[in-house]
Amino acid sequence: MIYLDNAASSHPKPPEVIRAVERQLRRNGANPGRSGHRLSAEGARVIYDARRILADGFGTDSELVIFTSNTTDAINRALKGVLNAGDHVVISDLEHNSVLRPLKAMEPLGVTFSVAQTKSNDEEALHSFQEAIRPNTRLIFCTHASNVTGRILPIRQIADLCRERGILFGVDGAQTAGLEDIDLKRDGIDLLCIPGHKSLLGPQGTGALLLGSPLELTTMTQGGTGTESLSEYQPSLLPDAHESGTMNTPGIAGLAAGTRFAMEHRDAIRSHEAELRAMFCEELKSVSGFRLVTVGESFVPTLSLIPESVHSEAVTQYLDRCGICTRGGYHCSALAHRTLKTEECGTVRISFGYRNTEEDVEECIKYLKKYLNNSGRA
């Protein structure tokens, strides 16, 4: 089996990650940071170590790392935590539904948003963001890299724009956390939403919302936090205010191990995956019947193919039968497919991971050619 769907979730995981999860499950099922016994304290230490690893990896402080169940959870907490009635947000035309849908849900509550066009290059994209700002713009929130096309957006320049205008800046780091060098303080990012289970190589069910500085965010859930138990009110202290209930300790242990691995090998992994992407793009030139989406200046190792005269899901189903895992359709991104004008057929998305090889690229190309031959479209 060849797995080329790392943009959805990375696979396989490093053995260290599996060992960390298994060890936590086997050795310590206590609720971390609740009881006073050593197992609870030890569990809390595992959680704190993970906070520290993420804080160091992304240039912030440990108490500004809020664990979530995934990027969508983090984005919801960010948007609903920051925005109030009368606020305006600017997003890009490549956003995932995890950004679009919460904002649509907040429209009846008086939150408005505008969509900046990313166009063909970073300068035009930046200009579009600038033009979209209004007097009541509170936040610019955008993806660091599109989960459909892999295009990387100029977040440092957007952050500069936000700083000039006194606007908060939030980033969806789903496709770049663990792959690109992101430093909240250096890059001027106020809110960074990341998954544990993609390029950080951790288990599913993990993620984080990282803050560049202590921000007052409205809490989405309230409940037990292990402190101030006689108070009827949710503590306001970060990160406890946003971490009610029992934490996913085995998941977070795995996330820590994955992050350590990803950060240690980040440059090598990025280089390897970029080479595979480049190789695929080159080999694709010998395949007619698919058009590569090339809009943008720089990319993560994800790419989309637009099939001619067939739905993308038909292609990915064929590839699956040949033992190749890819994703067709619309990738939970209505905006991106509207921008690409691929609402009719979707795209075949191929996303490389650290364990993919040149042979995987060659096999995928071979079967794309076979698909076209078999269907008489070559």
């Binding site: 006073g36 809390a44 402190t227 101030e228 006689l230 108070s231 202290l237």
Partner: protein, 74 residues
């Protein structure tokens, strides 16, 4: 050894306290408060009594959110 427990506002800050103090060669351990605190329960960092004043100052200077409550353990 006599210890002083410096109450902090969360287990995260208790862990951070241990980390901060370690840099200054002060040994701290994370503990559950064994007395009632203002809002019921919480965490503290237990340090050697003779180093507790120094420890408290270090925690304040390094952004560890303390509650201002202390109690002693023998």
């Amino acid at each position: 050894m006599r210890k002083r427990c410096i109450a902090v506002r969360s287990v995260t800050y208790a862990q951070k306290a241990v980390e901060v103090l370690q840099k200054y060669d002060i040994h701290g351990t994370v503990q559950r408060n064994s007395v009632r605190s203002a809002d019921g329960c919480g965490w503290c960092v237990a340090v050697p009594f003779t180093q507790s004043e120094t420890a408290y100052g270090l925690l304040l200077r390094n952004g560890v959110k303390v509650t201002g409550e202390f109690y002693d353990l023998s």
